[in-house]
Amino acid sequence: MSETTDVLPFTQRLRSNPRPALLWVGVLLVLLALEAGAIASVAVTIVSGLAGAVASGAAAVVGGPVVPSIGGAIDAALTSAGQVANGLPTLLSRDAIPNQGYQTPDGAWHGTFLGLEPKHAWLLRVVVVYAYMFGLLWWCWRGYRLYVRHYRFADWTPRDDVVDRLRTHRWGQFGLVVVLLFVGMALFAPAISPMTAEQNLYNAAQHDIEYYDADSESVEKMSAFDANLASASRGAGSVNVNPWQYDDFGRFHPFGTMTNPGQDLFTFMAYGARVSLAIGLIAIGVSIVMAAGLSMLTAYYKGVIDLAVVFVSDSIQSLPGILLLLLVSATFQNHWFGQIYNGGLLLALTFGVVYWPGLWRAVRGPALQVAEQEWVDAAKSYGQRSATTMRKHMLPYTVSYLLIYGSMSLGGVIIGVSGLSFLGLGINPPIPEWGRAIATGQDYVTTPAWHISLLPGLLIVIVVTGFNALGDGIRDAMDPESEGEDADAGATAAGGGA
C-alpha cells in the first residue's frame, strides 16, 4: 500500500500540468462545434426513438388515454428540439456544399456550391467529410499519445507494445482504413450521397427537382420520381447512366443509376452501408456477449455446464448458418417481429445466435487456460465472489480473442445479409441493401448497365477483405506468438457462406 501513496490520482496529475490537456480539449471542442447541428440532431433522434419505443411499450402494457397524451407532449418537445438542432450550423451537410443544380446554355451552373460543376461539388463534399472524420480520429489518437506522455503514471504498459506492433502492420492498417471508409460511408450517408434519400429512395414523388429544358429554354420543375425514371439504366436502349456520368437533368451519379425506378446507386449504397453496418454490429455484439459470458461460466465451473454448452453449440453448428437464417427469416416474414427495422433486428439476432458457437469455440481454450492460473485460485480462496473473479481476473484475457474473431466474423455477416436480401428474404424494400442492388442488376451484367451488379459486389469484396485484414492486424498485434497466420482461417469471413 505504501507504493500507491506516491501515485497521484489522475485528476491531480492533470491539475499539475493542465496546458497540453486544455489545448487538446479546446481543439476537440472546435472540431465538434463544426458538427454541432449533426451531433444534436443525432442525439434528438436517438432520444425520440427511445421515447417512442418506451411510449409504445407503455401503451401496450397500460393502455388508456394517458399514455398517448404524455407521448404527444414528449413528441412535441422532441420535434421542437429537433428543429433547434437542425438550425445549428453543420459543416458536413448537403446544405453547406450543395451539389444539385441546373446548367444554363452559357455553361454556368446554378444552385451548386460556388457555381461548381455538380461532380466537383460532390467530390468536395466527400473529401471534406472524410477529411473531417480522419482529422477527428487523428486528434483522438493524439489525445491518447498526449495522455501517455504527460498523464499516465506507468512509463510502459503491455498495450504500448500492441500499439507499436499495429503501427508497423501495413496489412492491418489497410484493413483499418477500409473499415473506416466503410463506417464513414454509413455514418455520413446523408452527407456523402449525391441525392437525398427521400428524393431518391423513399418518397421521390413528393419531391421536385429543377432542371434546364433546352426546348423551352427555361428552368422547369419536375417530380424527382419522373426524373429518376427517365434516367434509369435499363441495359438496352439509349438511356444508361453509367458511373461518373450526368443524367439528362444535370444530376451527377458517381456509381451510375439503378434500373427502374432509377435510384442513384451511390445513394443506395451509402444508405445500404448503414443497414449492413447496423446489422453486423448488433449481430456481432450479441454473439460476443453470449460467447464471453458462456466462456467465463464454462471455464470457471467446467463439468456439466461445459458439456451442455459444447452440446448446444455443436448442435447449432451442425447445420450451415445460411440455412437456419433462411428458415427463420422465411418463418417470420409476415410476423410483427420480422418487421422491426424492416427485418433487420430479426436478422441481426439470428446471426448472433448462429455465430456465437464459433466465437465461443475460439475463446474456450484461452478462457480455460486463464481459469487454471494461480491468481484465479488466489482470488477464490481470498473469498472473492465468482462473478467478480470472472470479470476482473479472467475476462480481460479473452477480450483480445473476441475482438479478433468479432472483426473477422463481421464480414461474414455482411455477406450473409446481402445473400439473404439477394434471395428476397433479408431486408424488405424500399430499405436499401447491397444484396438487393446485385439482384436488381443481375440481368444487366453484360449490357451497358453492367455497373448495377458489379459495383455493389466489388464493394462487398473490399469491405469484407478490410474486416479480415483488420482482424489479422489486431491478432498479430495482440499476440505476436500466433505467427501461424492461418491456424484460425475458419473464423475469417468467406464468401462461401452465401
Binding site: 440455412l323 427463420v328 418463418t331 451488379s453 469484396v461 485484414a469 497466420e485 464468401g495 462461401g496
Partner: protein, 348 residues
C-alpha cells in the same frame, strides 16, 4: 482405445447433436408464427383439403381436436428417424418427400464432387507453390488473390460468371472481333439449367455434364480454394523450416526427395479440417449457386421449400443435411488418425 471404439464413440456422440439440432428446427417450424397450411394453400383454401393437410402434418386429430405440441414433437422426431417424411404440399404436391429428395440429389452430388475436386486441384498446388517460394512475386500474387477470392460472395460471383458465359459470343465479338461461344465449346451445353446426368457412361454425355457443371462448381469451390491455398502455403512454410527437414538436408538428401517425401506429406495434415469444412460451404452455398444457375438440386429445393412454406419438406431436407455433415465430420476425424498416427484418440 482402438480405432473402431473411437469411431463408435464419435457416432454415439453425434446422435444427440443431430437430435437437438432437429429440435431447434421443430421449434422454428411448429412454434414459429408461420401457419404451414396457410403458407401452402394460400388465402382461399379448400376447408376439406386444409383439414386433410393438418391431419397429415400431425397438427390436428382427424376429429378436429388439436394435437398437443409434445405429441407433435415426438411424432416429428419419430418420422425423421424412420425416414417417413410424408408427402410434399407445395412443390410437386402429393409426391413423397423422400422420392423428391432422391430425385434431386444427383445434381447436387455432381456439383459438390466437382467443386471439391476443383478446389483441391487448384488450391493446394497453388498454396504449396507459394509456400516453396515465400515472399516472391508469385507468392504475393497467389496469397493476395487467395484473400480476395475468399471474400467474394458466392452469389455475386455466380451471377457475373453465368452472365458472361451466356453472352460469350457477343462479348468476344465486341472485344476481339471473333465470335467465341462457351455454349458451343467442345460440346453443346447451356449455362443456365440442369445438366442431364442420366447417361454418364457415354463419353460425350459425360463431357457435356462436366462442362455444364464446371462454372457452378468453380463458384462453389472458390471460397474453399482460397482457404486451401492459404493454409497450404503456411503448412509448407512451417514444415520446411522444421528440424527434421533441416536434418534431412544435412544428411544430404536431394531437394526433390525432401519436398515430396517430408514436406508435402506433413503439410497435408492441417488441410484435412479445411476439406471437411468445405462440406458446410457446399451445402450452404449450394442454395445460392443452384438458385443462380437454375440447377434443380437439393439447395434450390431447400430454398423453394422454405420460401413457399413447404415446411415438411424443409424439415426433412435439414435432417438429411445434418446427418450428412455429421458423417463428414466423423470421417474427417478418422482420416486424421489415418494420416497422422501421432494424433491420439483420447484428446478428442
Amino acid at each position: 482405445m482402438s480405432r473402431w471404439r473411437y469411431f463408435i464413440r464419435r457416432l454415439v456422440l453425434a446422435v444427440p447433436v443431430v437430435f437437438f439440432a432437429m429440435s431447434l428446427v421443430f421449434i422454428v417450424i411448429r412454434m414459429g408464427p408461420r401457419d404451414p397450411v396457410a403458407a401452402a394453400l394460400g388465402q382461399n383454401q379448400n376447408p376439406e383439403l386444409a383439414h386433410r393437410m393438418r391431419v397429415q402434418l400431425g397438427i390436428i386429430n382427424p376429429d378436429g381436436s388439436p394435437v398437443p405440441l409434445w405429441d407433435q414433437y415426438i411424432e416429428f422426431m419419430v418420422d425423421l428417424v424412420t425416414l417417413s417424411f410424408g408427402q410434399t404440399w407445395v412443390i410437386n404436391r402429393g409426391a413423397g418427400v423422400l422420392d423428391l429428395i432422391l430425385a434431386r440429389a444427383p445434381v447436387t452430388i455432381w456439383l459438390g464432387f466437382w467443386s471439391v475436386l476443383i478446389a483441391l486441384l487448384i488450391g493446394i498446388p497453388l498454396g504449396f507453390y507459394a509456400g516453396l517460394r515465400p515472399n516472391s512475386m508469385p507468392d504475393y500474387f497467389a496469397s493476395f488473390s487467395g484473400i480476395v477470392w475468399r471474400a467474394m460472395p458466392n452469389f455475386w460471383l455466380a451471377i457475373i460468371l453465368s452472365r458472361f458465359l451466356v453472352n460469350t459470343e457477343g462479348l468476344s465479338y465486341d472485344l476481339i472481333g471473333v465470335q467465341l461461344s462457351w455454349s458451343a465449346f467442345l460440346v453443346e451445353t447451356n449455362v443456365i439449367g440442369t445438366p442431364d446426368l442420366g447417361n454418364l457412361g457415354d463419353p460425350m454425355a459425360l463431357l457435356a455434364a462436366i462442362k455444364w457443371i464446371l462454372p457452378a462448381a468453380i463458384v462453389l469451390g472458390s471460397a474453399s480454394m482460397g482457404n486451401e491455398m492459404r493454409i497450404g502455403r503456411t503448412a509448407v512454410l512451417e514444415t520446411i523450416n522444421s528440424d527434421y527437414v533441416e536434418t534431412a538436408r544435412a544428411k544430404g538428401l536431394g531437394r526433390r526427395v525432401i519436398v515430396w517425401k517430408h514436406v508435402f506429406r506433413n503439410a497435408l495434415i492441417p488441410l484435412v479440417p479445411v476439406i471437411s469444412s468445405e462440406a458446410f460451404v457446399l451445402i450452404g452455398g449450394s442454395v445460392l449457386v443452384e438458385y443462380v444457375f437454375a440447377l434443380n438440386g437439393l439447395g434450390k429445393l431447400t430454398f423453394e421449400a422454405i420460401r413457399q412454406g413447404d415446411l415438411a419438406l424443409a424439415g426433412a431436407l435439414l435432417f438429411v443435411f445434418a446427418i450428412f455433415l455429421q458423417v463428414v465430420n466423423i470421417l474427417q476425424d478418422l482420416l486424421y488418425t489415418v494420416i497422422d498416427p501421432r494424433i491420439g484418440y483420447e484428446q478428442s
